[in-house]
Amino acid sequence: MLRGLLKLTWLEIKIFMREPLGAIGTIAIPVLVFVVLGRFLGRRLVATSSSAPALIGIDVPVFASVMIALSAVLSLVTIISIYREGGILKRLRATPLRPYTILAAHVLVKLALTAVTLMLMMLAGKRYYPVGADVRLFPFTVALLFSTFSILSIGFLIASIVPTARFAQPIGTVILYPMLALSGLFVPVTALPPALQMVARVLPLTYAVSLLKGIWTGDPWSAHLSDVAALVIVFAVFTALSTKLFRWE
């Protein structure tokens, strides 16, 4: 069935690129925002404080990466629900394609797009973000793909439960973006009130952000084993739940 998986993956990439906003929305816009942000903030920062470059050098790339990952998850949720509503999933199911092959193809598409977007972003932003752009790119890419993969399983679960495509995107947004607020991306988790810290600790995105930030700033993987473990657990739990709850029509 590998032939079917590769064929379906390649086909889904081509189809995605034919969407009016497909390539522009997921690849061009994040890269553009990143460059504009870098240009705008970068100039100002050189003139002002000395602690600021660390902020931009670390947080903006990590922030942009997390946004790429989240948009991949949301787009997966939308696609799955559109496919279900339109009877496409059902039609594919009546072939020898196994259910997980269909889902795996979509995950591969999202991971590939995530990697390409990240790469373009880093290339375009090299001028503005000298920190890290030269050294840690490979491990960071691995960390981002790993985090995306894990968070995609949350997308599966949302896609499994949400009844129609019209609700898929808003519900996905409502679930994912609050997680972002507590993830430690804007405010360090340790600076949150104790109650919110507890909440942050059970949110999967917190571990993704911690891993991404760490790897970007040069931590070895061994310093983030707990993050990796947490993301693996998230993946296992959400994938198991969604296979139980998944509906084809």
């Binding site: 064929k7 379906l8 189809i15 009877g87 496409i88 009546a94």
Partner: protein, 306 residues
């Protein structure tokens, strides 16, 4: 035609919550025939078909398809059957050849996709996106996808719904072509004309139950033996002559136009004999034969269009 049964369904029942979709459905489809499951929308046609395809599991009853259990052996079965689903869609921007190519890659054995598209009249739409195809073209593509693995058994669910009469006729020819390749076709339709013209045998289903099974002509003969002859004549004594024919049950006359009701296939011949023996001149002569639609009305007490 051999009488080897390729689909055997015995006493299946399927409920959704409190709604009984189908109950005690039994039927056999023989090798090489076009078998139609006919009934109004919501009668249980699609549920029955999807149970046979292995897409749904009945709550009780036995199904065997090509000597396989469609639920347990679903992946083996899928290589040997072709499926067209009601109201299924493909990705909006998938090209016709890409869909055929993808489907071909999924099966261990597949036909030449380009030749198949040519046979279905889709060659010039090879590079068109799915969303730009007309209803008839979409259905022809779905037929192509159902045939790509050269299946022994093809399922077609409401294949011509929503198509204009001309597109419908094209599709009928294609379905007959499938039978000529030696394949068995199991289809559903709510169009009685389609069933009558296309199917070797039909099963009539209503409210989730099979009412009767047989060849369309046999069902008509069994349930609606009435025949009607309408003719126009100036002959004053004609009415009495017609009433004297043994098979005639009623004769009415309105402004020289006679309507003769009777039973059995012999009625028309009898009326013609009567006309020639009595040298009755007629200026118009028409017969009206009951069809499957009348059979359905008689068996269910309601029209299939309701």
């Amino acid at each position: 035609m051999t009488s080897r049964s390729v689909i055997h369904v015995s006493g299946i029942r399927k409920t959704y919550g409190r709604t009984v979709a189908i109950d005690d459905v039994s039927l056999d489809v023989d090798e090489g025939e076009i078998f139609g499951l006919i009934g109004p929308n919501g009668a249980g046609k699609t549920t029955t078909m999807e149970c046979v395809e292995g897409l749904r599991t009945p709550d009780r009853g036995v199904i065997s398809v090509l000597a396989l259990d469609p639920f347990r052996d679903v992946y083996t079965l899928q290589n040997r059957i072709g499926v067209q689903l009601q109201e299924a869609q493909l990705q909006k921007r998938i090209k016709v050849w890409e869909a055929v190519d993808l489907w071909a890659s999924l099966y261990p054995r597949s036909l030449n996709g380009d030749r198949l598209l040519e046979q279905l009249g889709l060659s010039d739409k090879r590079n068109a996106w799915f969303m730009t195809l007309s209803g008839g073209q979409k259905q022809r593509l779905f037929i192509a996808l159902a045939l790509i693995n050269d299946p022994e058994l093809v399922f077609l669910d409401e294949l011509t719904t929503g198509l204009d009469p001309q597109a419908r006729r094209t599709i009928w020819d294609l379905v007959r072509g499938i039978r000529e390749r030696g394949k068995t076709v199991f289809l559903t339709t709510h169009l009685m004309e389609e069933a009558e013209r296309l199917c070797d045998r039909v099963a009539i289903i209503d409210h989730g139950r099979i009412i009767d099974i047989g060849a369309p002509a046999a069902l008509v003969a069994r349930h609606c033996p009435e025949r009607t002859v309408m003719l126009v004549t100036d002959e004053a004594t004609a009415g009495e002559r017609f009433r004297a024919i043994p098979r005639v049950t009623a004769v009415t006359c309105q402004d020289r136009r006679f309507t003769i009701l009777g039973r059995g296939d012999e009625l028309v011949t009898d009326v013609i004999h009567c006309l020639s023996e009595n040298r009755i001149r007629v200026t118009d002569f028409r017969t009206e034969l009951p069809n499957l639609e009348d059979v359905f009305l008689k068996l269910t007490g309601h029209s299939i269009r309701d």
